[in-house]
């Protein structure tokens, strides 16, 4: 079985984000990056499937400038067998459609049984790449997986989806499939120290996005980024003589306005 995991190098969720001078991107200098957390679930699941199915290989793939090599190293350190880096030297590809197009092209050329993606990348939250790749590959797009069962002999996958309100939906499909990972799918492992040291000698294939033979003309551009301005709201409810009605009012406001109570 061959599994490919699409991963993305995103700013550390703890990083202090500031805007770049042109207000179309964030200031990229001096921020630390991590593998997008949902992608970590994806890689972990792929590794678990490999552990249960000897002979399986796991590849990690990403698109971006030289810097994103690091996210592939992380995947390799966790245990992936190989990595593919689609180079976009000056980070010019920002449209999720083009990203998906490049990834799909490379995935298709290498052969695969299961493609894993995170449900979303936690930087731009576009939620598009996974589904777009499934469409381009013309395979079942099994999104928001909370549990995955693979029957390698029958070449079938059963996926438990967690949908609105926690409802579970069970779906199944035949290889090849694309699965997007949801929180709760598993508990991602730490890259072990020997894993980190071994990652150095694992193969990383570099391909240039411009040489894939796909249309890189963007259909969407980022016009503006704005950071939210938070205003602290303060409201005082006068208790007066009758505390009871004030409490009632407070509960009602916590429910309807602050939305912290159900």
């Amino acid at each position: 079985m061959r599994i490919i995991c699409c991963v993305k190098h995103v700013p550390d969720t703890n990083a202090q984000i500031q805007l770049a001078a042109n207000k179309k991107d964030i200031a990229r200098e001096a921020i630390s990056y991590v593998m997008s957390p949902y992608d970590e679930f994806a890689v972990e699941e792929a590794l678990r499937i490999r552990e249960k199915n000897p002979g399986t290989t796991v590849a990690v793939i990403t698109l971006g400038p030289e810097r994103v090599d690091q996210v592939l190293r992380t995947g390799l350190a966790m245990g992936a067998d190989e990595a593919i880096h689609i180079l976009d030297p000056d980070s010019s590809i920002t449209d999720p459609l083009i990203v998906a197009r490049c990834l799909a092209q490379v995935i298709k050329s290498g052969g695969y049984d299961i493609v894993f993606c995170g449900r979303q990348a936690v930087d731009n939250d576009a939620f598009q790449v996974g589904s777009a790749i499934a469409t381009m590959l013309n395979v079942a797009g099994m999104t928001l997986a909370g549990k995955v069962e693979v029957d390698a002999n029958a070449k079938k996958v059963k996926v438990e989806r967690i949908v609105e309100g926690g409802t579970r939906q069970i779906i199944s499909g035949s290889f090849p499939v694309l699965i997007t990972a949801q929180k709760g799918l598993n508990e991602p492992r730490f890259a072990s120290l020997p894993g980190i040291m071994k990652a150095k000698s694992k193969p990383v294939t570099k391909k240039n996005a411009a040489e894939l033979g796909v249309d890189l003309n963007t259909k969407m551009i980022i016009e503006l980024l704005e950071v939210p301005v938070y205003q602290r709201k303060k409201r005082v409810i006068q208790a007066g003589e009758d505390g009871k009605s004030a409490v009632k009012q407070l509960i009602e406001l916590l429910r309807t306005e602050a939305k912290v109570l159900e």
Binding site: Q70, T74, F190, A191, S192, P194, I196, K200
Partner: protein, 384 residues
């Protein structure tokens, strides 16, 4: 000059940071209160390969060098000082003694199991009357047939009560003194006559196991002599040289954590209508902390790099140990001051950091000994 870390070292830092945040730091208060590191945590560190970090792959290590080792201890020290000391004693002086002077058989037999975490190791040099003055060792080892028979008592032994293997320094020829008269032995704790005495109740690093070890006619086979007969003191000094640097990396981590705790508090604590972080008195303390941390970081990694390049760093290790342990003490002291009354309360993290810091000026050679080492080196070899 290139001050960047390799991608492997960066990944190693990320991994240990995550491990620290998720598995170590949440237990820190409990480790202090119960004066015990849960073995579960040791096992988790072993599974990640952390215990073999400084040793070559052929012994089950990771071969991450002194640089990798320092990075690991810096990160772990931001989680818990006791656990850091437990690992530090095991790796820097216990396992390291075997790595530095052991035979290939000894390395295969013991070092591999120390890398995997199956064995915990300890290093028993200090005695009631022999600390900095190692020539005063009273524990004896007498050759009887094919065994050495050990008798004596060791004191302040980190990991002593939980170790499977202890490196014990004993007198084999009293007339020769420290150089020539002291020999190192690899002693398995299951050997008859090996007794764990009382556990010492400490001010800080309370979770680290510190005990008295008693040897009553402990028979150690000849093949467990570590290094050459009479050269135990050299083994001890080489291991301690290494330990001084990694200990300093722990001081660096502890300092970063203390600054972080202080910043969090200073930004939240409002007095006179504004966060105390806006008061110049607090800002000066923060500036001093940041400057000292920068100095610590610079000297720790420069020296680790030099070591990995094969340079001798005896003077540097002594300087780094002296400076970092003293800077850490100043930093936690300011940290408590910034926290005010809260910093004096047991449940507050900075209070624990303050107590945990103090030992660093004492163990692995007191800072007075470090100054002697530095001064002698400067006086004989010239300044710079």
């Amino acid at each position: 000059m290139d001050f960047t870390f390799t991608p492997e070292h960066q990944m190693l830092r990320e991994m240990v940071k995550k491990f620290t945040e998720k598995e170590v730091r949440p237990l820190s208060q409990k480790i202090d209160q119960e004066a015990k590191v849960p073995m579960e945590l040791w096992k988790k560190a072993a599974e990640l390969g952390l215990l073999g970090i400084a040793f070559p792959e052929k012994y089950g290590g990771a071969g991450a060098g002194e640089m990798g080792y320092c990075i690991m201890l810096e990160e772990l020290a931001q989680g818990d000082a006791s656990f850091t000391v437990m690992l530090g004693a095991h790796i820097s002086i216990g396992a390291m003694s075997i790595y530095l002077d052991g035979t290939e058989e000894q390395k295969q037999k013991y070092l591999t199991k120390m890398c995997s975490g199956e064995y915990i190791s300890a290093f028993a040099l200090t005695e009631v009357n022999a600390g900095s003055d190692a020539a005063n060792i009273e524990t004896t080892a007498a050759l009887k047939g094919s065994d050495y028979v050990l008798n004596g008592t060791k004191f302040y032994i980190t990991n002593g009560g939980i170790a499977n293997v202890v490196i014990v320094f004993a007198v084999t020829d009293k007339s020769l003194g420290a150089h020539g008269g002291v020999t190192a032995f690899i002693v398995e704790s299951k050997t008859p006559g090996f007794k764990v005495g009382r556990e010492l109740d400490k001010m800080g690093i309370r979770g680290s196991n510190t005990v008295e070890l008693i040897f009553e006619n402990v028979r150690v086979p000849k093949e467990n002599v570590l290094g050459k007969i009479g050269e135990g003191f050299k083994t001890a000094m080489k291991a301690l040289d290494r330990g001084r640097l990694s200990l300093s990396a722990g001081c660096l981590g502890g300092s970063k954590r203390a600054l972080e705790l202080s910043l969090n508090h200073a930004k939240q604590r409002v007095q006179f209508g504004k966060p105390i972080a806006e008061q110049q008195a607090i800002q000066w303390m923060i500036a001093d902390m940041a400057a000292e941390i920068f100095a610590m970081e610079s000297m720790v990694y420069r020296s680790a790099w030099a070591h990995d390049q094969g340079m001798r760093i005896t003077r540097e290790a002594a300087i780094v140990k002296m400076y970092c342990s003293e800077a850490l003490d100043r930093i936690v002291d300011r940290g408590v001051q910034i926290h005010g009354g809260m910093g004096f309360i047991r449940e507050c993290d900075i209070e624990r950091a303050y107590r945990d810091a103090r030992i660093n000026r004492i163990f692995e050679g007191t800072n007075e000994i470090q100054r002697l080492v530095i001064a002698r080196d400067v006086l004989t070899k010239g300044a710079y």
